[in-house]
C-alpha cells in the first residue's frame, strides 16, 4: 500500500520523512553487519512476494506482507521496507522520493507494532499461536490503511471520503493477508523455526 506522489501536503510529507528517518536509525542500529545480508535478502523476497496477486472473486489483490516482515526482522523491518519501497520507486515508479518517508511509515510502523504485540504469541504451536499469526497479517494491513487514511485526512478534509474508500477496499485484503500470514507462520514453524525467533 502506498500513497502516490503529488497528493499529500508538505507538512505531512516532512513529518512522514522525519518519523521514517528515526525508525530507520533505530532499525539500522539493531542490524549489525552479520544480519544485514539477511535483512537485505528478506527485503528482496518481500519485494518479490508483494508482486503476487491472489484471486478474490472476479478480481485479485496483491499482498502487502509487512506483518510477516516485521515478525521476522523486528525493528530491522523499517530499513528493509524503506529499501524495498525505494526499489519500487526506482524500478516501477510506484511512489517516489517525497512520499518515501510517509510510505515507509505506512508499511513499517504496523510491522514493528505487530512484532511487539503478537511476536511473542505467534511462535506458540497452539490455537493462540494461530490466532496471533492471523492477527499479525490482519492488523498490519488494517493499521497500514489507518495510517494512510490519517495521512490523507491531515492533508485536507476533501480526502475524508477517499480515505474511507481506501480503508473499505482493504477489508478483503486484511482477511486474506491474515489467512496467508497464518499459513505462512505455520509453515515457517515447521520448516525453519529459527527464522521466527531471531532474538
Amino acid at each position: 500500500m502506498h500513497i502516490s506522489e503529488g497528493i499529500l501536503s508538505g507538512p505531512v510529507l516532512l513529518s512522514g520523512a522525519a518519523l521514517a528517518a528515526v525508525g530507520t536509525g533505530i532499525g539500522l542500529k539493531s542490524l549489525d553487519y552479520d544480519r544485514i545480508a539477511r535483512a537485505g535478502i528478506l527485503a528482496a523476497s518481500f519485494f518479490v512476494a508483494s508482486l503476487i496477486h491472489v484471486p478474490i472473486g472476479p478480481s485479485s489483490v496483491h499482498l502487502l506482507l509487512n506483518g510477516i516482515v516485521g515478525l521476522l526482522l523486528g525493528w530491522g523491518a523499517v530499513p528493509a521496507l524503506l529499501v524495498a519501497l525505494l526499489l519500487q520507486g526506482v524500478l516501477f515508479q510506484f511512489g517516489g522520493i517525497t512520499t518515501l518517508g510517509v510510505n515507509t511509515v505506512i508499511m513499517a510502523a504496523p510491522a514493528v507494532i505487530a512484532y511487539y504485540l503478537f511476536g511473542p504469541w505467534a511462535r506458540r504451536p497452539d490455537a493462540i499461536g494461530m490466532a496471533a499469526a492471523f492477527l499479525v497479517g490482519f492488523c498490519s494491513v488494517l493499521l497500514s490503511g489507518v495510517i494512510a487514511a490519517a495521512a490523507l485526512m491531515l492533508t485536507g478534509e476533501g480526502f475524508l471520503e477517499v480515505a474511507g474508500l481506501i480503508l473499505a477496499a482493504h477489508i478483503p485484503v486484511m482477511v486474506i493477508e491474515g489467512i496467508v500470514t497464518l499459513f505462512c507462520v505455520m509453515f515457517l514453524r515447521k520448516v525453519q523455526p529459527s527464522l521466527l525467533d531471531h532474538r
Binding site: 506522489e5 497528493i7 510529507l13 537485505g40 528478506l42 527485503a43 523476497s45 515508479q93 509453515f187
Partner: protein, 252 residues
Amino acid sequence: MISEDFAVGTSPVHRIDPRLRVVAATVFSFLCAVCNRFEPLLLCLVMAATLPLLARLELRRVLRRLLLVNGLILFLWAVLPLTTGGSPVLNIGPAVVTKEGLLLSARITLKSNAIFLALIALMATQSVGTLGHALNRLKVPGKLVHLLLITYRYVFVLEQEYLRLVRAARVRCFTPQTRIHTYRTYAYLIGMLFVRAAVRAERVHQAMICRGFSGRFHSLKEFSFTGVDFAWAAIIAIVLLAAGWLEWIAAI
C-alpha cells in the same frame, strides 16, 4: 519480470553525474510537492516532460507507466470535486461539483505527472547499483546503502526462485481460485521463498567474510563532476528557482 528498462543509455541525461541526478530529482520532487499555484507547476511539468525526451527513453514504455499513474488520478477526479467544500459550479442531482475540488484535482494531476516524469528521467536512468554508490558519496549511512545494494542484488535472484516455485505449482495443476487451498498454497510458497532467502543469506554472508568483507563495499566507479554537469546543475537550478519565485510572488 523485473527489469531496469531505462537504466542503460548514452543520452545526455544518462551522462549526467548520478549524484547530481539524485539531488536534482529530490529537490525537484519536493518543490513540486509543496507548490500550490498553477504557474510554477506548469513550469515544472514542462521541464519534467522535456527530460525523458532528452534521455531518449522509449516513449511507449514511458506512456504506459504514465497511464498507470493517471489511473489513480482518475479515481481522485471522480471523488474529490464532490467531496471538497467550496463554491458550487455544477449540480448533478444531490451531488455538488465545487470549483475548489476541481482545482485541487487539477493540481494533483500536474504534481503527480511532473514528479513521475522527473523520477523516470533522472532516477530510472541509472542502475540501482550506481544509485547506491551515488547515495554513498552523498553521505547516506553506509549500512543503509549496503542494505540497498544487497536487496537489489538479490531481487532478481529471488524472482527467479519465485518463478521456479510457481512453475512447480503449475506443473502440479495448481490454478489460483478464491478458496482456502489457493491461499494456503501461496502462503507456503512465500514461506518457502523466505526459507530459501534465509539459507542463501547465510551462505552469502559466509562467502563475503571469506573474501575479507569488513563492512564496506568499495566502488570501482569514480564519479567526476565535469563542466557539462555544472551546466546541467545551473539549468536545473534556474528552472527550480524560477518555479520557486513564481510560487513566492503569489504569496506576497
